[in-house]
């Protein structure tokens, strides 16, 4: 955590320095104080996998995992993320191998234009890490805050169910 945690941090307009961990790497960036966390990720850190659909919390495309919980990166200021641990879509694959959710979404045709996909996958990852034994009804409920204009959702739900099967017993559930 940065020093600013222990005293009143004041930024009177102008720029401010943010120190946090992104996908396992410690980063320190200077951004204007009004910068959203999503813009910090996309512009300052060039992690453009986090997408912006609405910028007021409705579509879910910008969802990331912050300190273990799914959050809307468009509804956080970068400065609020000072000292936190952030994971984005770019951090899911390890050494060129897809995360089970990425593989399962691919296998079940959960991507069409894929604008919504990073948000869906980060929401799903936070949900499954919290409790991997999810019913279909719970998955539908938990993913209900993310919008997709292409797939009609069924293939996305199938993808998440497939990821659960894969993570449980190495069976992606594809017929």
């Amino acid at each position: 955590m940065s020093d600013t945690m222990n005293e009143t941090h004041v930024a009177l307009g102008g720029d401010t320095t943010i120190s946090c961990t992104v996908n396992g790497q410690a980063v320190s960036v200077e951004v204007p104080v009004r910068t959203s966390l999503s813009d910090m990720l996309r512009s300052a850190l060039e992690l453009t996998g986090t997408h912006l659909g609405c910028e007021h919390g409705v579509c879910g495309a910008c969802t990331i995992v912050l300190d273990g919980a799914a959050v809307r990166s468009c509804l956080m200021l970068a400065v609020q993320a000072d000292g936190t641990e952030i994971r984005t879509i770019e951090g899911l694959a390890t050494d060129g191998t897809w995360h089970p959710i990425q593989q399962a979404m691919h296998d079940h045709h959960g991507f069409q234009c894929a604008f919504c996909s990073p948000g869906f996958m980060m929401t799903a990852v936070a949900m499954l890490e919290d409790d991997p034994n999810r019913t279909e009804a719970e998955i539908r409920e938990e993913l209900g805050g993310n919008l997709c204009r292409c797939t009609g959702y069924e293939s996305i739900i199938d993808g998440v169910l497939g990821a659960i099967a894969e993570m449980r017993d190495g069976d992606g559930g594809v017929a």
Binding site: T4, M5, N6, E7, T8, H9, V10, A11, L12, G13, T16, P32, V33, R34, S36, D39, E55, H56, G57, G60, T63, A69, A70, V71, R72, C74, L75, M76, L77, V79, Q80, T123, A126, M127, E141, E142, G144, G145, N146
Partner: protein, 290 residues
């Protein structure tokens, strides 16, 4: 869109937060940001200074008294309310509201007290506060005061809170013996703001309703109770005749807004449907008091 420019302060003590609020005309508290940042991104608001209260100690506590009263601090998120076994056992109507609020990612950041301070007409928590006679604990450099829910919600996104006051906590008094509560609503998509909603608490003595609170949201400029319909339920068992009369009085009392999501008449109709649903649900509940 992006938020207009502002200055930002992140105090680490309550006193310094209160001084910042007292010393700046156009300062706003930033809690979870799940209402304030959309407002700023849509350029519907442009405060000069944001006072981020997230690093102030002790405000994230849920305190349960021996008698079952529950005090929820300003930094307790909707997700923490939803997950709290104490709130579920002592104030089930508060727990019942939480899953209706936005989506998981919104509840992970948004605070219970922030939704009360924001006072959206379609928000669940203000109605729950009215149904339970909750107390708002406000604090400023001028001192503390407790504001009853009935006096707190004064208009569309307006409350009795002064510009220099911070809402430190909300206190739900012990539930009366025999009380049962529920929150029911109709929304276009689960998690969206409700087209119409009802926080309902009934106190039963055997099969007889001895006290009733019907607190509606989404059907007026702020959450509101419907006293005539409440009176029609008291002394009955909530049977069909009593319900018909209560529903008639709900429709006669409420004056809901019309917008793209629904006409005034549709919302009035929903309000009646919700009254029936809530009372029927609570009547059929046996055993455990809520």
């Amino acid at each position: 869109m992006k938020a207009p420019p502002f200055a930002y302060a992140r105090p680490t003590t309550l006193d310094s937060a209160l001084e910042l609020l007292a010393g700046n005309d156009d300062a706003k508290v930033l809690a979870g940001g799940q209402s304030l940042l959309p407002v700023m991104n849509l350029r519907l608001g442009a405060p000069a200074l944001l006072v981020d209260i997230s690093r102030i100690p002790m405000l994230d506590r849920i305190v349960v008294d021996d008698d079952g009263a529950v005090t929820i601090g300003a930094l307790v998120t909707h997700a923490a309310v939803e997950a709290s076994p104490e709130i579920a056992s002592h104030q089930p109507i508060v727990a019942a509201a939480a899953p209706h609020i936005g989506h998981r990612a919104i509840r992970n950041r948004g605070t219970c007290v922030g939704s009360i301070a924001h006072a959206d007409p379609a928000a669940e928590m203000p109605a729950v506060c009215l149904a339970t006679d909750a107390m708002m604990i406000a604090t400023s450099t001028r001192g503390d005061r407790a504001i009853p829910a009935a006096d707190f919600f004064t208009g569309f996104l307006e409350t009795d809170l002064a510009d220099d006051e911070l809402l430190a906590a909300v206190r739900f008094p012990a539930s009366p013996v025999g009380a049962r509560g529920t929150v029911v609503e109709v929304a276009r998509r689960h998690g969206d703001y409700a087209l119409a909603g009802l926080a309902c608490r009934l106190v039963f003595d055997g099969d007889t309703i001895t006290d009733a609170a019907l607190a509606y949201f989404g059907v007026g400029p702020h959450a509101q109770r419907v006293a005539p319909a409440e009176a029609a339920l008291v002394g009955t068992s909530g049977d069909d005749d009593a319900l018909d009369e209560a529903v008639r009085l709900v429709a006669a009392t409420l004056d809901p807004p019309a917008d793209v999501h629904g006409s005034a008449n549709y919302r009035r109709h929903l309000a009646g449907v919700l009254c029936r649903r809530a009372v029927t649900e609570l009547r059929s509940e046996t055993g455990e008091a809520r």
